[in-house]
């Protein structure tokens, strides 16, 4: 038996921490690899991903969890199912256009949401982290909130738990007002329904528990200019100027 000296590349691989494959690689701005039919990529491409420290409003940690009582599924099986069927668990009115490569680190997904007044909000998320028992999505500039959503599953008291945890601030002053005037409630309902749908998929009927914690009540006024990227305003402008673009395209033919 002979011993071989590892090549430089092999050596590098062995010295990388084992979490390296789970994290997205750093990129200055987001890049969408493909735009699915029906999706609009007006507020994601070229934007920076932003975390809870870059937002404007109060910082919240919102935890939604459901016990999958009587279900014989491991945390890894729950997360695999969640990743594969992510869009199907969302409630009606919001569309998640999954990346072609699926929920894998660094992939960017487009989202179409509903805003009051019939405006369709075009935004997206980047997959920041994904391992066998959890995955995290990070929002772009202009998204209603600045932060991360971590979906995870683990065992507790002999049962498998599915959990979504949001760490967020409203991205700008307008969104902060919107969240206080019903936006938080809408968001809570969305994740409660998502978890309920996931539980039903596995045949469980346990109630979804919600825990809301205001981590930082301070507003970050230095980030008020985030309103420039407000995806709600930009989506509304995109919608009202659609006839002009149609006329321009027609004239160009």
């Amino acid at each position: 038996m002979t011993e071989q000296t590892p090549q430089p590349e092999e050596r590098k691989e062995t010295t990388e921490p084992r979490d390296a494959v789970y994290w997205a690689r750093y990129a200055e701005t987001l890049k969408v690899s493909g735009v699915a039919e029906g999706a609009t990529n007006i507020n994601v491409e070229g934007r920076r991903a932003v975390g809870p420290l870059q937002g404007f409003g109060k910082m919240w940690q919102k935890t939604y969890r459901v016990r999958l009582g009587g279900v014989d599924a491991s945390p890894a099986e729950v997360i695999q199912t969640w990743k594969e069927n992510y869009k199907d668990f969302w409630p009606e009115g919001n569309v998640f256009y999954a990346p072609l490569a699926g929920i894998t680190p660094g992939e960017v997904a487009l989202i179409s949401g509903s805003l009051p007044g019939g405006v369709k909000l075009s935004t997206g998320v980047m997959v920041l982290y994904a391992d066998d028992e959890s995955f995290t999505l990070m929002t772009p500039q202009g998204h209603p909130f600045s932060g991360w959503i971590t979906f995870s599953s683990f065992e507790e008291d002999g049962a498998t738990i599915a959990q979504a945890q949001v760490l967020m601030r409203a991205n700008d002053p307008l969104y902060e007002v919107g969240l206080r005037m019903g936006g938080h409630k809408m968001e809570d309902e969305m994740w409660q329904k998502t978890l309920a749908n996931l539980a039903v998929h596995f045949g469980a009927r346990d109630p979804v528990e919600t825990n809301l914690v205001c981590v930082d009540p301070k507003l970050q006024w230095r980030h008020y200019r985030n309103v420039w990227h407000n995806a709600g305003i930009r989506s509304a402008l995109h919608m009202v100027t659609a006839p002009l673009r149609w006329r321009r395209d027609r004239a160009a033919r």
Binding site: W23, A24, A49, G51, S134, S152, E155, E156
Partner: protein, 118 residues
């Protein structure tokens, strides 16, 4: 719930600065250990908390979330949070999560302690 696979030893290096030596895995299960270490490091009117990440072996997104909530607590107490000993990999994670916008990252303990003392 699984046990936390992490230890955090606190050293007081001056009247105003404590160093926390992190060894192991920073995940959601490390919350209790992290907050205990922070409480210990803050005793006696410490103004600068320096975290030594040379022994960090694994970190997931929940671990990064814990650092955000720690930072908020530190700011609320009008203290400063500083870090050193991050490998290139973990520096890149601080960059992508944009924690480097808010937490000062230094190359050595000496540098971090000096910055925390000013």
């Amino acid at each position: 719930m699984p046990q936390a696979q992490i230890t955090m030893d606190v050293r007081r290096v001056s009247d105003k600065v404590s160093v926390v030596d992190v060894k192991g895995e920073l995940t959601a299960f490390a919350e209790g250990v992290l907050m205990d270490a922070y409480g210990q490091a803050s005793e006696g009117g410490v103004r600068g908390i320096v975290m030594n990440f040379e022994g960090l072996e694994y970190m997931n997104s929940s671990g990064i979330g814990l650092l955000v909530t720690l930072l908020i607590r530190v700011n609320r107490e009008k203290q400063r949070l500083l870090i050193f000993g991050l490998s290139d990999h973990y520096q890149s994670i601080f960059q992508i999560t944009r924690l480097d916008d808010a937490i000062a990252i230094h190359d050595s303990e000496e540098e971090a302690v000096k910055a925390a003392s000013t």
